[in-house]
């Protein structure tokens, strides 16, 4: 950015927006200029919304998805199918799967994937919490919906070996997904098929 081209207050907003995913400095400048011209109320609403986001959103104490209460909306819903847990790596993987409408049970968010070369160990993930839930919630089937990457497959192997002795059926989504693919970017139809054609591990 040309130094001193804009007053500091404006540059500060541009710098902050330019950090967002997929936003370059040009787009950030356009957005900041929009905010500057926007009605007072609109800018205030954004400030309030961001404040509330940071204050209120935390992790669900049962499944570790995003929540604004003790439990996320899914865990708080008693009408969902009991006995099934679908395991994802990140909170961001949950939404595309929920959108397919295929799954009606409860979720569990691991908080990452095992990565031997990065030093991410099983203990760094919420695996112990998953085991506790399997025991206490009368779970019969665990479906692993992890990305078809090296880390995803290693985590699938590890979980399958750990969970089967607990007496649950462990299945994983079919690897019809492209190798190295990301659940967040896969189209709904492909994702639905991968979920439907899951295989027992």
């Amino acid at each position: 950015m040309a130094k001193g081209a804009y007053p500091e207050a404006l540059t500060r907003v541009i710098r902050a927006i330019a950090k967002w995913p997929g936003v370059g400095e040009k787009t950030a400048t356009r957005m900041a200029l929009y905010l500057l011209r926007a009605p007072e109320g609109e800018a205030r609403e954004l400030v309030e919304a961001i404040k509330e986001l940071k204050e209120k959103i935390k992790f669900c104490r049962r499944c570790f998805a995003f929540a604004d209460q003790e439990l996320c909306p899914i865990c708080a819903d008693p009408g969902r199918t009991q006995g099934q847990i679908l395991v994802v790596a990140d909170p961001g993987d949950l939404l595309p799967i929920e959108r397919t409408g295929w799954f009606s049970g409860y979720y569990h968010v691991l908080g990452g994937l095992i990565s031997p070369l990065e030093g991410v160990k099983p203990e760094d993930l919420r695996i112990r919490e998953l085991e506790e839930r399997i025991k206490s919630e009368g779970i019969e089937e665990v479906i692993l919906a992890l990305n078809p990457t090296m880390e995803g497959e290693v985590t699938t192997t590890y979980l399958s070996e750990q969970l089967k002795p607990l007496g649950v059926k462990v299945s994983r989504i079919a690897y019809g997904l492209p190798m190295g693919g990301d659940i967040k970017y896969i189209d709904q139809q492909t994702l639905k098929e991968a979920l439907g054609h899951r295989v027992e591990t």
């Binding site: 995913p21 997929g22 070369l117 497959e153 290693v154």
Partner: protein, 251 residues
């Protein structure tokens, strides 16, 4: 213009929404870090390529950004994907890859290190016993990197070492109990059986490794020795130890 190079991928990090930062081992340049622009969403230039431990061919841009290379495209040569369903083997593969990356930077001895890692990954997939394979491949990599262990004769008196045996971490060799006095430490006690296994693992041709069977306690003692040696000489622990320890149970 681009430069083609064989590569074994070590780690991949996402940069922002679109780009990926790839660290990989090459025979000519040692350990290299390269930026794969737009590789996250469009995988056309890197079909099934960007996964740790994959053996690939990379095409690097002739233009470099200092220490950073630019990856134009890549082709998969071999994925070693069966290792993902056998965690002790995967743990061994990860440790050997990380070790090879450390030894190949700076890149003087990168070519034999690259070849040794590629061979070890193939053998891990082909079902040789994982413990003896891991130990022999680690010693082989260390030797290629200039850290070969001195196991045949006592470092101090030059004779066949007499028990109780010790291993000098700074010098990477064995000592008689009687000779350990003036030797530079730290020293580790070395069980005679473990010493024999180490010698065999370092000298035996890889196609005969299947005959080298060792109990879990002996494997653990040898791995602890290699780990202490690496921590001393690299100044830190390799990241892959924790996973390997977690998945290599008693047999």
């Amino acid at each position: 213009m681009s430069i083609q190079t064989p590569a074994i991928i070590l780690t991949i990090k996402d940069i922002g929404e679109a780009d990926r930062l790839v660290t990989f081992l090459t025979p000519d340049r040692g350990r290299v870090t390269g930026l794969a622009k737009h590789a996250k969403k469009s995988r056309k230039r890197f079909p099934n390529v960007l996964e740790p431990l994959n053996r690939v061919e990379f095409y690097l841009s002739a233009r470099t950004g200092g220490d950073l290379e630019f990856l134009q495209k890549g082709e998969l040569i071999r994925a070693y994907s069966s290792l993902r369903r056998d965690l002790p083997r995967l743990g061994a593969a990860a440790l050997l890859a990380e070790l090879a990356g450390e030894l190949a930077s700076p890149p003087e001895a990168a070519a034999p290190i690259f070849a040794a890692l590629e061979n070890a990954l193939a053998r891990l997939e082909n079902g040789l016993p994982v413990d003896s394979l891991l130990i022999s491949a680690a010693l082989h990599l260390l030797k290629s990197g200039g850290y070969g262990f001195h196991l045949g004769a006592c470092l101090a008196c030059g004779k066949e070492p007499a028990p109780p045996l010790h291993f000098s971490i700074p010098r990477g060799g064995v000592l008689c109990g009687a000779c350990r006095g003036g030797a530079p430490g730290p020293l580790l006690a070395l069980n005679p059986g473990a010493w024999k296994i180490l010698r065999q693992a370092q000298e035996m041709p890889p196609d005969r490794l299947a005959r080298l069977i060792l109990p879990a306690w002996q494997r653990d003692q040898i791995l602890a020795l290699i780990r202490a040696f690496l921590r001393y000489h690299l100044g830190r622990d390799l990241k892959s130890w924790s996973f390997l320890k977690k998945v290599s149970g008693d047999k």
